[in-house]
Amino acid sequence: MLNQYSEQFERIETTCGSLLCELQKIWDEVGEVDGQRDTILFELEQECLKLYMKKVDEAKECRTKLQRDIAIAKAEISDICISMGENSVNHVLKPVRNLKEELETISPLLEDMRRKKVERINQYVGVVEQIQKLSNEILGVKEQNGNKVLVDETNLSLRRLEELHTELHELQNEKINRLNQVQDHINTINSLCTVLGMDFKQTVCRIHPTLDDLNGEKDASNNTIARLAAQIQSLQELKIKRMQKIQDLASALLELWHLMDTPVEEQQVFLNVTCKIAASEPEITEPNMLSIDCIKNVEEEVSRLQRLKISRMKEIVLKKKVELEDMCRRTHMVMEALISADYSIEAMESGAIDPLYLLEQIDLQISKVRVEAFSRKEILEKVEKWLAACEDESWLEEYIRDDNRYNAGRGAHLTLKRAEKARAVVNKIPAMVEVLTLKTTAWEKERGTEFLYDGGRLLSVLEDYSSLRQGKELERQRQRDQKKLHGQLIAEQEALYGSKPSPSISGKKASRTSTAAASNRKLSLGGAMLQQVKPEKLASRLHPSKKADYLNENSLVNHQRSSGFATHSGRRSSEVSGRVVKKQPPVTAKVRGIESSAVRKPLSPVSFAVNSNTDIVNFIEDQKKVQNRQRLDPGCKTPTGMPSKPSLIGNDENRTPKAMPIPMPTTPSTVSAPMLMEMTPATPATSGAYKVERIVEQVQQIEYSFEEVRAGFFLS
């Protein structure tokens, strides 16, 4: 090249030299002056130099440009390398000869680097975009379109990318966690909603519409989670509130059940409620357990039971009141303010008074009255006696006034006897009154209050009575004086005609019973007497003679029945049975006391069934059913092989010796109760007879025990 260029230069020089030579020749020919020649040569030289200088400048310019380009490219490459975190170009270019070549080697490198950079930026943008999206989701910010992702182009290193990736990963994890959390919350809400009987979808949609969707992506922003948590909190609070409510209700329910012995069938309905009475909040999981309906149901039941309780309470209060009244009546006390207006049922109904309080009050009163009654008992007995005596007295007065009293009618001797007795009693009255007065005064002194009898003061009554009696006594005295005068007259007559025989008073009891076809008058008297006896429980102790009378009458009735006074005895016996029935209640009451623990209504049919039942019951059959059927139709021959009725009756009579000689078809259960309780052993004679019957029965039916039935042991 150089040679080529130097040849070129030489050629240029030779061309120029030849041209100068030509110019010399021309000038020589022309004869140009030397001056001119110098000027032209100088100009020529100047012009040539100028041209050269221009070209050199141009070439310089081109070189600088190239150099600048190369520098820029290199700088860019190193920039990119630095930003991408790569070591700066150590793949440094192979040695180059000149600038153009260098530029040519650098520019593809640059292109490459630029491409890489774009790629990296794209990667960054992808990651950052995802990050932004996730964090937006988490923060709950709506995505803003057109919000271009800004990437810091100065730092595009792989490490940074790695960091961004881990950040993204973390965010993704967090997203998953949040989704799980949301799912958990939703599940919790779901279970709470089912327990509380609320619409789950509605509840959840109110928080975020996406939450309802089962498979769709669920919103997991902070806001949503917070709202979910708040919702759970509020639901839980609601649940606890309701739970407390329902537990309160349940305990009320249990209390009421317990109080009223509610049957199991009725309880069954609310068992699911009551079994949760002690459950803690998380234990209650049944659907609709705490729904408003359920609570309402339970509430209704409680209020129903409460109403029932109040009505029962009312009954009890009424019963107690009646009892109190009865007791007061029996002890002749006036229930002054015991049962004042505010004890009334109306007050209780209106809620002015707690029935329990009322009951307590009445109970208190009852116990007070009982104590009082006990202290008054002795005096009351005496009063009773005294009143009876007074009655006798008034009867006697009446009787004495009857002028026909000595007419020998039917039963007149009985009346006479009664009169005699009455006289004896009347004679005792002053003493009685005295004792009574003494006792009463003592009582009053001891108590510091007045002894009231049916509202009046007993002492004043007694005083009245004594003054009345005194008046009567005076009257009688006067009469006696008159009589004495009269008697003197009669005595004078007696002296003339002889004395009258006195009527024989001593009647024999035996004659009385045998002939006592009893006039109406006597019957009513007897009835009256017994009526007086009746209220006294200890009749037999206080009035042995009357008791004997009573027994006598019984036997009398028996006698009459057998001798067949049809009309008369019918009336008598009905009367007697009526009386027996009246006397029965204390006995049954006692019976009830004995078996108080085995609760049974006194008139319930079991005793009847037991009484009329036979001992041979086929136990293979359902026992209770049989018994039930028997109870319903005791006389009927059941298909289970019960013995026929005649043997049944005979059986009964043989086995249980009757305490009462009179069969009482109207009141079998009351009579049978004492027999059941105090069974007298069968006498040998009857048991023998019974055995024969048993054998006959055994032919019909053989009894087996449970074990025999189970073991399949049967007599051939």
Binding site: L271, R600, M679, S705, V709, A711
Partner: protein, 343 residues
């Protein structure tokens, strides 16, 4: 179920209960060992205080009754007509003898050293367990009864036998040839349980219809003028209908003379016979109560809660044995309360 009144623990339930109905259980007179016979053809020996099964003895048929001899051996009455002697330590059992029908009940008399068995073949047999094995050498005597023997009860030398047809015979073990007393149960229905008073002056009977009767022996009668009475228990009023339950057995308190009854209603009641009052009702057991026994020191009461087949074959609660401790207050008679001091 309901948590109305969380039922007071019905007592400790023994582990490994029999797999079928329990026919009887008895406490030993010397320890807290409990002998249980069952329809699952076994006799089991438990240590009630340790709640452990000490032994299990298989039989050829359902075992209807069992009793202790001493702490090391006992006797059993089986439905395969045999009377067996069981030696607990060896697990050995030998046959004392046989009846012609299932043996329903068995008692051992310490006074006479004899085993008395009652069977549905209408006989009572006595055995002497001290004789060597084999029926010929152990057999003492056989005593015909009017009906199938259902129950025996024994105190000292006095033996009360209850049979079908409500017969009750009272024997003196020293004079077995003739019953001391022949009686009819005055209860109306089949006898379900009989127990002698611990003092030997009388016995208590119960029937399938929930009645219970107290009865003194004739020879002892002058002691107590009111020697006989009956009352009802195990009854439940439901609606219009009174349900009566069989009284399955009676356990008498050896000191106070109070007694416990238990029946098919699943309740155990303590009664004070003299005052005719119920003292205590234990909480309900899952099913019928088949048997009941006080331990020797009356600290424990064993209760067999087991369906007694009173309503035929039907599904029922699993059989279980409960051992509960007895409070003094539950069994001690309450002092008589006079509402009004006698005027």
């Amino acid at each position: 179920m309901t948590s109305v009144h969380p039922p007071a623990a019905p007592g400790r339930e023994l582990s490994n209960p029999p797999t079928d109905g329990i026919s009887n259980l008895r406490f030993s007179n010397h320890s807290d060992h409990l002998l249980v016979s069952s329809w699952d053809k076994t006799v089991r020996l438990y240590d009630a205080s340790a709640n452990s099964l000490r032994g299990e003895f298989m039989h050829g048929g359902p075992v209807l009754d069992c009793c202790f001899h001493d702490d090391s051996s006992g006797f059993s009455a089986s439905a395969d007509n045999t009377v067996r002697r069981i030696v607990f330590s060896y697990g050995k059992e030998d046959i004392l003898g046989r009846h012609d029908a299932p043996v329903r009940c068995i008692e051992y008399s310490y006074a006479a050293g004899q085993v008395i068995t009652g069977s549905w073949d209408k006989t009572l047999k006595c055995w002497d367990p001290r004789g060597a094995s084999g029926q010929e050498r152990t057999f003492v005597g056989t005593y015909p009864q009017p009906e199938r023997v259902y129950l025996l009860s024994l105190v000292g030398n006095r033996l009360v036998v209850a049979t079908a047809g409500r017969h009750v015979n009272v024997y003196d073990l020293q004079k077995m040839s003739q019953p001391e007393e022949r009686r009819e149960s005055s209860l109306k229905y089949q006898t379900r349980c009989v127990r002698c008073y611990p003092n030997g002056t009388g016995y208590a009977l119960s029937s399938v219809e929930g009645e219970l009767q107290w009865s003194s022996l004739i020879s002892q009668r002058p002691v107590k003028p009111k020697s006989m009475y009956a009352f009802k228990c195990c009854r439940k009023s439901q609606a219009e209908l009174d349900i009566v339950y069989p009284v399955n057995a009676i356990a008498l308190h050896p000191v106070y003379g109070t007694f416990a009854t238990r029946g098919c209603d699943g309740f155990v009641n303590m009664w004070d016979g003299n005052n005719k009052k119920r003292l205590y009702q234990y909480s309900k057991y899952p099913t019928s109560i088949a048997a009941l026994s006080f331990s020797r020191d009356v600290r424990l009461l064993a209760v067999a809660s087991s369906y007694t087949f009173e309503e035929g074959d039907k599904p029922h609660e699993p059989d279980a044995i409960f051992v509960r401790s007895v409070n003094e207050i539950e069994v001690k008679p309450k002092p008589k309360v006079y509402p009004n001091p006698p005027a």
